[in-house]
Amino acid sequence: MTVTVNGQDRPLPPTASVADLLASIGLDGRKIAVERNREIVPRSVWASTALAQGDTLEIVAFIGGG
């Protein structure tokens, strides 16, 4: 299946979870947040949240700002 992550299409196995997606990108357990189809996915359910074809995800972190 294909999901859109931070505006980029990304192929994934059909049963992938949010945790699988993060592992495939190489993001470790740092302070990030994940939004799927405009809903926050809490860290506690990353492993149990299955993705679906066409999902839109945003993965964000803190950066410098005023």
Partner: protein, 258 residues
């Protein structure tokens, strides 16, 4: 002397809050913030770079355990964007204290107060503790406080303008009416302007560009730290009255004869 301020149950000795943006690199960011003595720093929320997931992050240089991170909504021009951004920030950081700013268009990026009220209401209903960037408008400031905002942060001048506190009368009026902390946020350009904001009675000053865009950011960070302390001390001391005439400082008795 125990002079501190509190917001949302958190206690701070430093009355300087600094941004973490616009620095040359992360080591310079860390050095300037260290020199500023700040205990609270503002941060932005942005997409992770997927092509370089191991790139250094702000938190590797500015520790969120040492500094209170105040996530902002910089770049948000609608209430929905601001609320969505801060929900992500809460998930990433695990805390509720945030800086709300909803901006109008360039060239002034002046606070959009209608959208700010809308976003503040949504955030407060969702359990956030909202420090709010706002117009230097005493009526709007009071309304934000009554809605439940935990700090009122009127602009001294437009963001990044370095013009100082252009309407000190209104900043003083907002502070005089407020029962929550008042911070001048935006517009400060140099140390005397930060001191001036504190002399007006503000609880703290929030600035970013004045340090990050100084010729020597670390040195300006030290200057700002001293300026905020000086301004606070002057406010507490109570300045002498202004008089439109001279009053000699040396006694007139005991003068030698002409």
């Amino acid at each position: 002397m125990d002079d501190h301020w509190e917001v949302a149950g958190r206690r701070f000795a430093s009355r300087l809050v600094v941004g973490t943006g616009k620095y040359k690199d992360l080591p310079e960011t860390a050095a300037a913030i260290e020199a500023s003595g700040a205990e609270m720093v503002t941060v932005a929320v942005r997409r992770v770079n997927l092509s370089d997931p191991n790139a250094p992050l702000l938190q590797d240089f500015v520790s969120p355990t040492r500094y209170t991170y105040l996530p902002n909504t910089a770049g948000c021009f609608t209430a929905d964007d601001a609320v969505r951004t801060l929900r992500l920030a809460r998930e990433a950081g695990g805390w509720n204290l945030v800086k709300l700013e909803v901006l109008g268009p360039p060239p002034y990026l002046y606070p959009d107060m209608a959208a700010t009220f809308e976003a503040a209401a949504a955030l407060i209903a969702d359990g956030f503790e909202v420090m709010v960037y706002c117009a230097d408008d005493p009526v709007a400031a009071k309304r934000l406080e009554e809605m439940g905002c935990v700090a009122i942060m009127p602009l001294g001048a437009p963001i990044g303008s370095g013009m100082g506190v252009v309407n000190p009368f209104l900043i003083r009026a907002i502070k005089a009416a407020a029962r929550v902390p008042v911070l001048v946020d935006a517009g400060i350009g140099t140390a005397s302007e930060a001191a001036f904001a504190m002399e007006l009675g503000c609880d703290a000053v929030l600035l970013n560009s004045a340090i990050a865009h100084a010729g020597d950011p670390v040195r300006m960070a030290r200057a700002m730290k001293a300026a905020v302390v000086a301004g606070r001390e002057a406010y507490l001391a109570g300045r002498m009255p202004r008089e439109y005439k001279a009053a000699a400082s040396s006694p007139m008795v005991g003068m030698i004869q002409p």
